[in-house]
């Protein structure tokens, strides 16, 4: 692999390691086992949302509704549990609801020929959040069964359950994107939808699937979050759509589509988690944390742009 390709592949990872090294020297507590486990646990929800967001962004789309789908799923799963539905069934139902809401995004995009995924997902962002508030009257639904809380707060040995969930999802998404024909279709749609269509890719069906997957990961995030907080609360996931977009972009995906990996996205989510955690440890106020995250997002994409330009210049010199 060429140096440029290596850098593209492992650039975000190098960034993450450098960040950890810096935070390790600034704070004694950062590089402790307990804290790192804590970072993983805290990053789990964003990582899950980012996986769905990644698949959407590979098609050159965007999903603004993941935070709200998380909120609605969160409330619905809590209601189901309160109604006495067995936790396993409630979890499956929540994933199904997330997938259904996501596929509505896809259907609106492809069948109503809305001009950009921004529109249907912006609509869904408001509708789902509003429904979440309507359903529970704005109040959280607390005290959930302990077997359900396992998904957010439990652990197997020293490994937190949310981390296991994230790993399973990562493996499935990685295999899906790199080893299946449908995954290849998704990259092709992002690269050139016209050429994909003329090569027999059922573009509309793939897009509907992509948004459905994003809904499923949002619901998975809801299950983890509700478990951790021991509550289904309607404002869950407020603003988390932007965190997931940030993680995907920091992880090396392109808004223009056709590019992006599960590994990069996971690293992107961890960079954001590590940054928040490290700044907390150093007693930086939440207000300043927001400022730093904003700078990191722009800087990460800028580095990518610089790298791409250098690569193109190198190529122009060769030709």
């Amino acid at each position: 692999m060429s140096p440029a390709a290596l850098l593209r592949r492992f650039g975000p990872l190098l960034g993450l390691l450098a960040l950890c090294a810096v935070l390790g020297t600034l704070s004694d507590h950062f590089l402790t086992f307990d804290n790192l486990i804590n970072v993983f646990r805290q990053s789990a929800v964003n990582a899950l949302l980012s996986l769905g967001q990644l698949v959407v962004i590979i098609t050159a789309g965007i999903d603004l509704s993941v935070g709200s789908i998380l909120g609605l799923s969160c409330v619905l799963v809590a209601l189901l549990l309160k109604a006495g539905v067995p936790p396993a069934l409630a979890v499956l139902a929540a994933l199904g609801i997330g997938g259904a809401l996501g596929s509505v995004n896809g259907l609106l995009l492809t069948k109503l020929h809305l001009p950009h995924p921004f529109i249907p997902t912006l609509g869904m962002m408001n509708v789902a959040r509003g429904l979440a508030l309507v359903i529970c009257g704005g109040f959280p639904i607390s005290e959930l069964p302990s077997s359900f809380r396992f998904w957010g707060a439990g652990s197997v040995g020293w490994i937190p359950a949310p981390v296991i969930v994230v790993v399973v999802f990562c493996v499935v998404f990685h295999v899906f994107l790199t080893r299946t024909t449908v995954g290849r279709d998704i990259y092709a749609i992002g690269g050139n939808p016209q050429a994909a269509l003329l090569s027999g890719v059922p573009v509309d069906a793939r897009l509907i699937l992509v948004y459905a997957l994003s809904g499923v990961t949002a619901a998975a995030g809801a299950i983890v979050l509700a478990g951790r907080m021991n509550s289904g609360f309607p404002l869950a996931g407020m603003g988390s759509e932007l965190d997931s977009i940030a993680a995907v972009i920091i992880g090396g995906a392109s808004f223009f589509g056709g590019v992006g990996t599960v590994g990069g996205t996971l690293v992107g989510a961890l960079i954001m988690g590590v940054l928040r955690n490290g700044l907390n440890l150093m007693n930086v106020s939440a207000y300043w944390q927001t400022v730093v995250i904003g700078v990191v997002i722009v800087a990460a994409v800028w580095v990518d742009v610089v790298r791409k330009r250098a690569a193109e210049k190198g190529r122009a010199a060769v030709n």
């Binding site: 024909t181 050429a195 090569s199 027999g200 890719v201």
Partner: protein, 488 residues
């Protein structure tokens, strides 16, 4: 100084684009109050010449005189200030503004920073009715027909006191009766002393509307004559060049055609057998691309397709692919390839859709073989196609369909913009496909290419089949006559 009878004179205009000569020492004159037709095959240099006249591109050599005075245009604006307006094929109007606003776009009559709307509407009405038409100047351009939009463009030119209006194939998108209306407008312009340069592929129209006609071929002027003393045959000969007319394809591998592979019935009817290459000729906009894309499931069904004698429904490209069809589109970058993806990904894209998991090893082996067979020059299967030359990109599109096992090839301008060597290799490939039993539909604007490769040539004109020529009787003249609607 006394105004010259010549409004516009070009002397020895030459132009190169990246080393290719597109105009060579062209002389061209337009008299005051004259309708001057400009004709030539695709690529003869008409558009470039008109771009020089309208200040869009600068000539590399030669001189331009306006009313006898030498002028040097540096921008379309300068041409407009002289009184030269170009009415493009794709009209340059703002659809969400009214006809009147479009007429004065960028030069609203204004006073003290306020737009004088009453004056705009009054003057727009005057201009439009002066052209002999009644269009409500307040209507949005989006709600106007194509013919009406052209009138708005012409009114706009007059509002800028145009003395010379260039119309690039204005009748191409128009229905017959709208074209008649446009001719009346053109005659009306001439009576008011405005000159018109009229570019058209339809030779008959020239005899209806023009005073003189100039023929370009390969960037040179070959003929300027009074229309009254010209004939369709004479113009076609001048466009094609007589020395070419006797040219017979040497590689005429008279294909041993097998059973019928594909047949179409409807507004357009034809059939192609296995082992046969059928050429589709026609001028720009004759409907060749639309026909091939329609066969491939893009756009509305406009007839019945039969594959291997059985009627099939093709609602989307995937259906066409399942019936063994392959489309090599006219624009490989926009429609043929995922430029940012690798050769491997592009070659495999059209196949294997019936299974879930990618068989990477098998794919790489087959794709590697195709790379060698088609002599695709690349660093390897993982090279992104973005960085391949045009010829190699086109071969990659073909490789995709060979890998998918296509039996009916729809080739739309397969050699457009590629180097001579790749062109020859693609010719070999096309003949090779046919000799191995594939059916090939080859749409091309290069008559030479059709005469070399095709067993039969279907000539299209305005979306219809104007005629069909078997290889023995096909000549450039016969094709051009049919393509220009000159003869039945």
């Amino acid at each position: 100084m006394k105004p010259s009878a010549q409004l516009l004179e070009l002397r020895g205009i030459s132009k190169w684009f990246s080393g290719v000569r597109v105009l060579e020492g062209v002389d061209f004159e337009v008299r005051a109050a004259e309708v001057h037709a400009l004709v030539g095959e695709n690529g003869a240099g008409k558009s470039t010449l008109m771009n020089v006249v309208s200040g869009i591109v600068a000539a590399d050599a030669g001189q331009m005189l306006w009313e006898g005075q030498p002028v040097r245009l540096r921008s379309p604006r300068e041409a407009q200030d002289l009184g030269i307006t170009f009415v493009h094929q794709e009209l340059a109007l703002a659809p969400q503004l009214s006809a009147a606003e479009n007429i004065f776009l960028g030069r609203h009559p204004a006073g003290g920073g306020w737009v004088r709307w009453r004056e705009i509407y009054d003057r727009a009405r005057e201009l439009l009715s002066g052209l002999g038409h009644t269009i409500d100047a307040r209507r949005l351009v989006a709600d106007l027909s194509l013919a009406e939009r052209q009138l708005v463009e012409i009114a706009r030119a007059l509002a800028f006191r145009a003395r010379l209006i260039i119309m690039d194939e204005p009748t191409a998108p128009l229905a017959e009766q709208d074209a008649e209306g446009l001719f009346r407008t053109i005659r009306n312009l001439r009576e008011r002393g405005v000159s018109v340069i009229f570019i058209s592929h339809r030779l008959k129209e020239i005899f209806q509307v023009a005073d003189r006609v100039t023929v370009l071929r390969d960037g040179k002027r070959v003929l300027t004559t009074e229309v009254a003393s010209a004939s369709v045959d004479g113009l076609v000969r001048a466009m094609v060049g007589t020395e070419l007319s006797a040219h017979v394809a040497p590689e005429a591998a008279a294909g041993v055609a097998g059973e019928e592979a594909i047949r179409v019935e409807g507004p357009v009817r034809f059939a192609v057998r296995r082992g046969e290459v059928v050429g589709f000729a026609g001028l720009a906009g004759a409907g060749r691309t639309e026909l091939l894309e329609w066969l491939f499931g893009v756009g509305k069904q406009a007839g019945q397709i039969f594959v291997n004698g059985r009627p099939v429904k093709v609602r989307r490209p995937l259906d066409a692919i399942r019936h063994g069809m392959a489309l090599v589109p006219d624009d490989r970058k926009a429609k043929g390839l995922v430029l940012g993806a690798t050769l491997h990904q592009n070659i495999a894209l059209a196949s294997g859709r019936r299974r879930w998991f990618i068989r990477a090893a098998r794919e790489r082996q087959a794709a590697g073989q195709l790379l060698a067979d088609l002599r695709i020059k690349a660093a390897g299967l993982d090279q992104r196609v973005l960085y391949l030359s045009g010829g190699n990109q086109q071969k990659a599109v073909l490789a995709k369909w060979l890998y998918a096992g296509a039996r009916v090839f729809l080739l739309d301008e397969p050699t457009r913009g590629i180097d001579v060597r790749s062109k020859a290799e693609i010719y070999d490939l096309v003949r090779g496909l046919a000799s191995r039993g594939a059916a090939v539909l080859l749409a091309s604007s290069e008559l030479d290419e059709l005469l070399r490769l095709a067993d039969r040539i279907v000539v299209m004109h305005r979306g219809r089949i104007a005629g069909e020529l078997v290889r023995a009787e096909a000549t450039e003249e016969r094709i051009m006559q049919l393509a220009t609607g000159g003869v039945q």
